[in-house]
């Protein structure tokens, strides 16, 4: 862990607050959330539905701007309240990889093209992007389905392609929202282990929103959210069998 700390911060949030609506219809989705995630650290974000996990993830992913608070990525202030301090879309492209509960692949592109497009958008030449996309699919065990469109892939295969896309540009931050929801236990654990491996190898900060307590031992740190706040945090690998559905 001390080795991780020396690398610096991948993500830092300062008093992130997100309020929807106003007056009587005001809903506080996230309140005063401050968090630090080191480079190479894999963090699990737990909590019941509506606790603010996805709101936090979309704020850190620069998709939804917080009402107030700051988001620093790689030591750079990128969001100060509603104000963007940089071109958020370009920043996302270069530094952030996303994996979602639903695989969210582009239906008219093949598996390899879904991975390749992320690199081409980032300025990589087509040939090099294609080669790396194939390597990633091979690494994730779906190279044989590279030319199939998402509709021809199983849920697990789609999710692995989405993971490959998230890894494509070697991002400094990977955000995953229940990435194993569509996978069986074995595949789910494989994906979690993959995140941990990538985080450690690439020094990326990884935040995974999950309900799957079976793989908590993979994470370096666990945060639990409730009512839009961080309720607790646990450092070190966790094996929380008591919360496991089995």
């Amino acid at each position: 862990m001390s080795e991780i700390r020396e690398r610096g911060l991948a993500i830092q949030t300062v008093s992130l607050t997100k309020i929807y609506g106003s007056g009587n219809t005001e809903v506080v989705a996230m309140r005063d959330v401050s968090m630090e995630i080191q480079q190479g650290e894999v963090v699990a974000l737990l909590g019941p539905s509506g606790s603010g996990k996805s709101t936090f993830l979309t704020a850190v992913g620069l998709i939804n701007r917080p009402t107030s608070g700051q988001v620093h990525i790689g030591g750079e202030l990128v969001l100060d309240g509603q104000t963007a301090k940089t071109d958020l879309r370009a920043f996302r492209r270069r530094h952030i990889g996303f994996v979602f509960q639903k695989s969210n692949l582009i239906p008219f592109l093949s598996a390899v093209e879904n991975v390749q497009i992320a690199m081409e958008l980032n300025g990589q030449p087509k040939g090099a992007a294609r080669r790396r996309a194939m390597e990633l699919l091979d690494y994730l065990g779906v190279a044989d389905r590279a030319k199939n469109r998402p509709s021809m892939l199983s849920g697990g295969q789609q999710q692995r392609v989405a993971v490959a896309r998230a890894l494509a540009n070697q991002p400094s931050v990977i955000l995953a929202d229940e990435p194993t929801a569509a996978l069986d236990g074995f595949r789910g654990r494989q994906v979690m282990e993959l995140f941990a491996k990538v985080a450690h190898q690439q020094s990326a900060g990884v935040v995974v929103v999950t309900h799957d307590h079976r793989s908590l031992d993979v994470f370096d740190r666990t945060y639990e959210m409730e009512d839009g706040r961080i309720r607790s945090s646990t450092a070190g690998a966790v094996q929380d069998n008591s919360l496991s559905p089995r």
């Binding site: 996805s54 998709i63 879309r89 996302r92 969210n104 008219f108 592109l109």
Partner: protein, 403 residues
């Protein structure tokens, strides 16, 4: 990676059907222009091919293509005496409606000034030109009178000895060429009973006149055909066509003929302009407006199609934005699809039109100029119509990919 092409390949069936739909719509737009060109070509074809340098018509009229024109037969000989004139021909032109093999047939009948003019200027697709002064006919193929066909007009039966193509009146009726005498005989044909009654009436009128008491021979003229009665018969030629000598001064010849108080004179270009600015002008404007309306409708339909195509891709667009695609990538995808839709639609329109238009009852003339003009208009429409889709795409938020 070309996202537009990838998306089209994914939904190729729908895109192909959309292209066919747009193509058929554009075919109608092209067709409207073609119909106008056809009307213009049909209207001016005769003037262009008859090889006349000048048209001498009834005084203060615009000539036989614009209104009724009648000139005395002697104009034929008077014009020949004008310095610079190489020759002149009679022009008789009228439309009749008869039946042939139990089907109605409208014939624009044109008289050829036999024997000087036997139709040598007419391009034949079958048969030969006229070889005798009576009872022979050259027919346009739109009349569906085949070579060797016999058709009864008036009291005589005419034999089709030649077939031509695209010789139509400004109304679109096929032209049949006969000699001037035959054309007049067909025009003024009346029943035997009517002839007898007319002769009796003339004789009665002649008997009432004191002049016939002094000159009884005048009564004999009453029984002659109308066209042969001196001073009484009305002029029967529609116009006289004048051909000039190669070195003749056109303005000088025109000036001399204009000095005659019973006729007016026009050059072929004047006649052409009068025709286009007269009867054809209104239909030209009508078709032009209709075409503009159709082009606008095509643009609106294309815009809606592209908007719908964009709506179908909203999730993908949101996802592209989420992974950091710049707006230019998304804009290019929609624009490329719009242009491709326009180009393929245009090609389908031209290909379909070339097969379908020949089946139309009137000529549809598609010129390269019109096609080029439409291609440019279509390029503009394609770009403009994609704006609605682009507008929608630009408003998509990346977080919509998560919903």
């Amino acid at each position: 990676m070309n996202l537009a092409w990838k998306d089209i390949r994914y939904n190729w069936g729908r895109f192909a059907l959309t292209c066919v739909g747009v193509g058929m719509l554009l075919m109608i737009v092209i067709g409207m222009g073609g119909i106008y060109r056809g009307i213009e070509a049909d209207a001016t074809l005769l003037i262009d091919t008859v090889e006349a340098d000048m048209w001498v018509v009834q005084h203060q009229t615009r000539g036989p293509f614009a209104e009724v024109s009648q000139v005395p037969s002697n104009v034929l000989y008077r014009t020949r005496a004008v310095p610079g004139v190489a020759g002149s021909r009679e022009f008789v032109f009228h439309t009749i409606q008869r039946s042939y093999q139990d089907r109605p047939i409208r014939i624009a009948l044109m008289g050829l000034s036999w024997p000087e003019d036997y139709g040598a200027w007419i391009q034949l697709t079958a048969g030969r030109h006229l070889q005798q002064a009576h009872l022979e006919m050259i027919a346009d193929e739109s009349l569906q009178l085949p070579l060797g066909a016999k058709i009864r007009l008036g009291k005589d039966t005419y034999h089709v000895v030649g077939v031509t193509r695209n010789q139509l009146s400004s109304n679109g009726d096929g032209i049949a060429f006969v000699t001037t005498r035959d054309a007049l005989a067909i025009r003024f044909d009346v029943s035997g009973e009517a002839v007898r009654l007319e002769r009796e009436a003339r004789t009665a009128r002649g008997g009432d006149a004191e002049l016939t008491d002094l000159q009884p021979n005048l009564l004999e003229n009453a029984s002659l055909p109308t066209s042969q009665i001196p001073t009484i018969a009305p002029p029967q030629l529609s116009a006289v066509m004048v051909t000039l000598q190669p070195q003749a001064d056109v303005e000088e010849v025109k000036k001399i003929i204009q000095g005659w108080s019973d006729v007016s004179v026009y050059s072929s270009q004047d006649q052409r302009d009068l025709l286009l600015k007269g009867s054809v002008e209104k239909i030209r404007k009508q078709i032009g407006l209709f075409r503009a309306l159709l082009t606008l409708i095509a643009g609106i339909i294309m815009a809606l199609i592209l908007y719908t195509l964009t709506l179908d891709k909203i999730h993908s667009i949101a996802l592209l934005k989420l992974i950091g695609a710049p707006n230019g990538v998304i804009l290019r995808m929609i624009l490329q699809q719009a242009v491709l839709l326009g180009v393929i639609g245009f090609m389908i329109a031209v290909a379909l039109g070339r097969r379908i238009y020949p089946m139309f009852p009137r000529r549809v003339v598609i010129t390269q100029h019109d096609l080029l003009q439409l291609a440019v208009i279509l390029a503009v429409i394609s770009v403009l119509s994609s704006f609605l889709g682009i507008w929608k795409a630009m408003r998509v938020q990346p977080n919509e990919a998560l919903s």
